[in-house]
Amino acid sequence: MDSRTEAAFTEFVHGRWSTLVRLGYGLTGDQRLAEKLARAALAKAYASWPRVIRAGGPDVYVRRTMLNASHGRFRRRRAHAPETCGQDDGSALMTALLRLPAGQRSVVLLRYWMNMTEAEVAEALGCSVGSVKSQASRALAKLRVSEALAGEILL
């Protein structure tokens, strides 16, 4: 690839790195793993850069790659959330979030953290708007009754 492509990719990485790592952290609860997910997604995007640009932009591609990788990891490990997630102020929310199934967690992050519309979330996850609505509703219901959040924050 030419130097123009490399320059565009470099600019993209600098501009999105923080957001991608934060999304990865929301998906995994582990910053090291989040950075690994983001790095792998960016490498895949660079490997197919012209196609990625043609297909609607690197943002969509990288986000979807990270979500798929995170879902795959969730399925492989069949693990749910760790019991605790640090002692910081957001530990209860992260613990409750990580106890959600991967799909619901993705919907919560895209809808309520990235402030995407239901249609955008549906496109990012490759599912219907109805599915996004139902997953969001289930996720909120679970977060409301989450033991980890009880008494600390009220949703």
């Binding site: 999304l23 995007a45 949703l155």
Partner: protein
């Protein structure tokens, strides 16, 4: 951490039953703020541009090798097994087995398409009235591969 939403507070206090929509909106806004608080507190390391470039090039190189290998295998198949791709439909026999056309060398020999053997094959046939000595003298066809 956060205040009790207005709609819920009234509901708990035994007030009039309220629609769940305002409560849901408060829920969503509250969740959005809490998520921002947790995730924005993360401080990522420096953007790994070099590593992403290197890994991306590696992925592309591997993909190219795979494509090249696939093409080579396909080309090999096309060259080595032409019969698989160009099966003659007009002959009812396999193209892998060579055939010869036998013309009628003597009246007793059946003509048509045959498969030759490795050895010169004598077509045995004796027309009515033709003595065996004449056959031996070469008046009949030899089927050569």
């Amino acid at each position: 951490m956060s205040v009790v939403p207005e709609a819920r507070r009234e509901h708990r206090a035994g007030g009039a039953q309220m629609s769940t929509v305002p409560e849901a909106r408060v829920d969503e806004r509250d969740l959005s703020e809490q998520l921002s608080g947790v995730l924005d507190a993360i401080t990522p390391s420096a953007a790994p541009v070099g590593a992403a470039l290197r890994n991306g090039k590696l992925i592309r190189a591997r993909r190219n090798v795979g494509v090249t290998a696939g093409l080579a295998v396909a080309a090999g198949l096309v060259v080595a097994v032409p019969g698989l791709l160009h099966r003659p439909a007009h002959l009812g026999v396999s193209p892998l087995k060579p055939t010869v056309m036998v013309t009628q060398a003597c009246p007793s020999v059946r003509h048509g398409v045959r498969e030759p053997t490795r050895q010169p094959e004598r077509v045995v046939g004796r027309p009515a009235g033709l003595p065996a000595a004449e056959l031996a003298a070469g008046r009949c066809a030899w089927l050569m591969p």
